[in-house]
Symmetry: C2
Amino acid sequence: MSKEDAGGSRQPEGYGKLQSLLAESCDLEKAASVLGWDQRTYLPPGGAVARGEQLAALRGLVHRKKTSPELGQLLEGLRGYEESMPRDSDEASLIRVARREYELAARVPVALVEEHAQASAAGYRAWADAREAKDFAVFRPAMERLTDVVGRVVAAMGYEESPLDPLIELSEPGLTAARCEALFAELRAALVPLAAAIATKSPGDEDALVRQRFDGRKQLDCGREAVRAIGFDFERRGRVDLTIHPFTTSFSPDDVRITTRVDENDFGNCFFSLLHEAGHGIYEQGLPAHLRRTPLGRAASSGIHESQSRLWENIVGRSRGFWEFFLPRARAYFPEQLSGASVDDIYRAVNRVTPSLIRTEADEVTYNLHIMMRFELEKSLLEGKLPVSGLRDAWNEKMQSYLGILPPTDLEGVLQDVHWTRGPGGGFQGYTLGNVVAAQLFEAACAASPGLPDRFASGDFGPLFRWMRERVHACGAKHRPEELVEKATGKPLTAGPYLAYIREKYGRLYG
Amino acid sequence: MSKEDAGGSRQPEGYGKLQSLLAESCDLEKAASVLGWDQRTYLPPGGAVARGEQLAALRGLVHRKKTSPELGQLLEGLRGYEESMPRDSDEASLIRVARREYELAARVPVALVEEHAQASAAGYRAWADAREAKDFAVFRPAMERLTDVVGRVVAAMGYEESPLDPLIELSEPGLTAARCEALFAELRAALVPLAAAIATKSPGDEDALVRQRFDGRKQLDCGREAVRAIGFDFERRGRVDLTIHPFTTSFSPDDVRITTRVDENDFGNCFFSLLHEAGHGIYEQGLPAHLRRTPLGRAASSGIHESQSRLWENIVGRSRGFWEFFLPRARAYFPEQLSGASVDDIYRAVNRVTPSLIRTEADEVTYNLHIMMRFELEKSLLEGKLPVSGLRDAWNEKMQSYLGILPPTDLEGVLQDVHWTRGPGGGFQGYTLGNVVAAQLFEAACAASPGLPDRFASGDFGPLFRWMRERVHACGAKHRPEELVEKATGKPLTAGPYLAYIREKYGRLYG
């Protein structure tokens, strides 16, 4: 049996077969995501071992499906059909993307994938224990095992320049370590002097307003109101839950789970982590429904994903216009703490620039310095230039030299990110890419809809939301990240708009 | 490679292979259970369709694994080894139970299993909608589809006497519809006159004490304290969550999830549903760790499972001794409602006998009448003697004739049980079996440890807990339910102890 494709011609039989193979893989991947979500939100400590086994079984199975000879043969047989269709059609894109993923995945033996999953589960437990003990030594053996396993994974995948390249290709198709390093160098040259200049002008207590005591339950309610205002649907198509290290996961565009944490002495911790995750969540809810259960029904890359979270967290959530709209609402939850504050007060408080220990709480100017050091550390680990036993010291040295501060314990240092519970190659470059892309997309959205940012003050985020829906979310994973940026904005990916945004905003804030 | 078995002889290679095949199936089954738990606790409404697909994919896969020719050949090749080992050894039991499950499962085509999973997911959604509308008509089309699908399942499995037989064999190995009907007849003959006699003596307001207003959050805290006291570990090895229709599920003995619901106008609703589910949960936490990831690392049957929940809910939780212990504790949560109450007051209140609409809230005397009517209805459905369109009326007629009351809406009637969201053959017989077995096990535990029930008054449930751990939980699924009862108590399964318990307790309560 064959169906008609978009071009009106007949779909070959193999195409339908490909779709159903891919649908099964997607379903099983989403099932694994449900287990992962539960693992990080509600799993009782005793359940960790069995959960590791279950995830390993499921991921091993997905890997076998994604690398089955049957899939390889189908993809081979569809070359002619792919070439007969326009490159951006659903059909050609599906075959192209599925083939890229097949070729990457087929290089890693299933036993190694299972070993990685087991090591990651053990790594997560060790990391949680280490955080409790505030001691990297507790996590070290697990990290050594992970570094070894990931090393064998990249060796199996093969690479020419950097052992990070195949891992970057997985999360940012088309990018390389060298390209990232060039981008980082451009940013570093501009941001380091800027941060230094700001340091001389900062009174140091700009954020006292948001560092008062804020009741945890009210923080959640207040954050939920903000998240609803920007367009995340958690009535029928999503949830918010608590966790240690906030993340977003999705089981379909109609079931998107965001998470957050609460610090009762810091209003910004929960609030901005919610806006951030909601940005991810809005993207997931906007992915094309008709491409669900295919490799196209996903985000284009980690970096593009991050562009959406940083957009709503920073460019919108830390804008003056947003706070014109939201301050009266926040005051309703916290009259005592916020009644005396003006829009300018809170705008300054949530945009304080200062070297800080925790990446997820870093300001927009210093954030990328956190990313660069992680990227460099994991590159050194994988290249064998840094042993895991030296990771804590290397971390602390880089903190000192990039930001001029030292973590009091490993909890605020080398143990802060969940990413390394899966080993080095945590995809950190995606965060900086996200910052850069967010600014470029925002610039284009504003050009397309003049006055767009002025509407934030009245709580109207619709034009921005819709532009992203059409230009970014609706494409799913059809395009590589750099392609997508160029298609959406008409210009190649560049750090220009990001640096212009930072200079303009912080130039004004800090004179 | 071969290992040594319990008898000191060499395990054939096929045995290790069998273990790893079964471990993978168990892991994937548990993964499906995680998705099912989430479906009933936290799933946003929009996520239901995708969840149905994911569960169908996972269950279809498990079914293919459980019916793979490779497994069949392995089991065939292990016949000699099985016969060489003692019947109750882990090895012989594992091969025997795995073969029984293989033979049952292999009869159902995978497409039919997937169809059943899809129909069940749709059934759950339709049931939830129907409950909201309080109208069976909303659920009817889904139930018609389910009845059709289940009819094809039992036809594929094959049966001699009743279409219910193969479904009963799945949940109660060794039992038949005819055996259940004989047991039901014996119970009916004793319980109907007893219920009638009690009705003439009941003042009708025995439970006013527990029908006051009780804050929901405090009910949960109070229930958690009781559940902890009887021995369910939800600090490290379990959780309690809220749901519509309480259930227990387990992802390993170290990760057991119980659920409950809260009615602010009825203290008993949440409290006894928690004790009930904790009874299930204690069983799951007590299953043999060394048989985890095998078909032996499970409950012996649904009926045996229910014996554990009914034991803790009723025989313990509704005993006078329990309330001597727990009343002061309950008073600490609800001083206003309970300060004037004596142990006798609350003992009477939680043991009111009255014909009622909701099975899960029925008293010990009338409970089995609820079961019998469901059993008869689903038998008629599957035998084609009752169309689904007549189910609501048939339900109401039976309610009238067995209990003399009529549900005001379908919500309190035919829509009350979650079971039929998977179609007829909901395993209701297991509930009555559970009541009967609980009493027989309790009688044996008391005989082994004289004075055991007297210790409840001081909060000491240890002797009962340990007896169940050793005689029931530790066996896993090695024995068929009737076998297990005979091994544990030294006597064949009989309704005698249950009827004696009921007559003694309610004879005293109602003179």
